[in-house]
């Protein structure tokens, strides 16, 4: 039901949607991420559990997991970004808890988030070169 709502509201921006267990998995167009997040938050998905990413060898898939305390459902939204020079809008305006995981995604994958108040590395040293969780990264 939530999926129908999202599809109705955002149409093309929702590139795919399916239910798996108690997860609603959607793929979202990058430019609509903030609006989808806001809509989800209004629908009760007020808890941002995680923002992470994965290198699928074709592209980087940035994954957002929102949880609704009331229903117990997870909304897992993915957005694709190119493996180099990727940019996505930041969710920090919607969720205060997005700030640090987005920094980690940048640190590990190189995806920058527009609108982020403090876009710099978080776990690795500031002068580190490269983004380790990419499949192409070589340890020296």
């Amino acid at each position: 039901m939530m999926l129908e709502k999202l599809k109705a509201q955002f149409g093309d921006a929702i590139e795919s949607a399916e239910e798996a267990g108690r997860e609603l998995r959607v793929q979202v167009a990058p430019q609509s991420l903030v609006q989808v997040a806001r809509a989800a938050k209004d629908e009760g998905f007020a808890y941002l559990a995680d923002i992470t990413a994965m290198d699928t060898n074709d592209a980087l898939r940035v994954v957002y997991r929102l949880i609704s305390f009331a229903t117990g459902w997870h909304l897992v939204a993915s957005a694709l970004a190119p493996r180099a020079g990727g940019r996505l809008p930041s969710l920090t305006a919607v969720f205060r808890g997005a700030e640090w995981p987005e920094r980690e995604v940048y640190d590990m994958f190189g995806v920058r988030f527009d609108g982020h108040p403090d876009m710099r590395r978080i776990l690795l040293t500031d002068d580190w070169e490269g983004h380790p969780l990419l499949k192409t990264w070589q340890a020296k």
């Binding site: 267990g21 108690r22 997860e23 007020a46 808890y47 941002l48 559990a49 995680d50 992470t52 994965m54 290198d55 699928t56 994954v63 997991r65 305390f69 117990g72 997870h74 897992v76 969720f95 205060r96 808890g97 700030e99 640090w100 995981p101 590990m108 590395r121 978080i122 776990l123 690795l124 040293t125 380790p132 969780l133």
Partner: protein, 369 residues
Amino acid sequence: MTQRLTPTETMVLNMGPQHPSTHGVLRLQLTLDGEVVLDCMPVIGYLHRGIEKIGEARTYPQILPYTDRLDYLSSASNNLAYVQAVEKLMGVEAPERARYLRVILLELNRIASHLMFVATFANDLAATTVFLYGLREREPIMDLFEMWTGARLTQSGLRVGGLARDIPEGFVDKAREYCTFLPPRLDEYDRLLSGNRIFRVRTEGIGILPPEEAIDYGCSGPTLRGSGVRYDIRRDEPYEVYDQLEFDVVTTSTCDCMGRYAVRMQEMRQSLRIIQQCLDRLPDGEVIAKVPRTIRPPAGEAYGRVESPRGDFGCWVVSDGGPQPARVRFRTPSFYHVAALPRMLRGWKIGDVVAILGSVDIVLGEVDR
């Protein structure tokens, strides 16, 4: 506000990474005006070991000992989140005996972790004696772990499909003994601390985190429940046999350090309750399901979620069909709690920094991974 007659400068003070009270290698860059914290910038990564990257080059069973070392004070919850994800991918369910034993292991870990919290929290506030008492009460639990899994702290007691080993002879009796041994001591320490005027003055009303902000920051566990939000994964997204057990979800509405401390004290008592119920109902049977020798989950992704002593511990595993995962991600509660620290510290004094940081109970192993 009084008017400033003489201009003063703000001072930047580094707490950490080596500091007796930052509970690990955490660096807090505090901007101070005298004793008042104007801003705080946490710097992390001193304990980053690249476990997620390592996970991509290890087989599924090999990753398990790495998970122990994330939140090293409560390794069973880390193990379980990972194992749950893999079991979901494989479509395997642990036998009932294993599930009860897993709950016992988890709750013992919770008690051990909370005792460590009480000990270090009291130590930060200079009630040094409670530090030693807390660690002393933890020793019987360590003995139980050693008896069962061979290790005191990083047990790796779980396996995909169940447990590594069944409990040995005498475990049940020793565990029951502990359940009667601990409550009077908890009462004593509670009186020693929360009955003490100085302790109360250092923790009541300090470090307020309003509930909406707590949720917005992604806080979970006692940090969230200390702010009045009644959310516990064991109750709201039950796993193992929690849906068949009776226990209370403890919350306080004070949103301060005392609240978070009180939640953990009560949670220990609830954990003892859970353990006793499990010991009573423990069925016979196998402790591990039939699982192939080489674990190759079919392609797909799964998320395991556990209520660790620190909060919402999640593990996202993506499989490409091979013996090694394509991605292993650990969503750790302390990461988000450290992110929320600036909000909790702003406006308080240096002495409060230690109290607030202690009350949030972070473990750097899971912040940095």
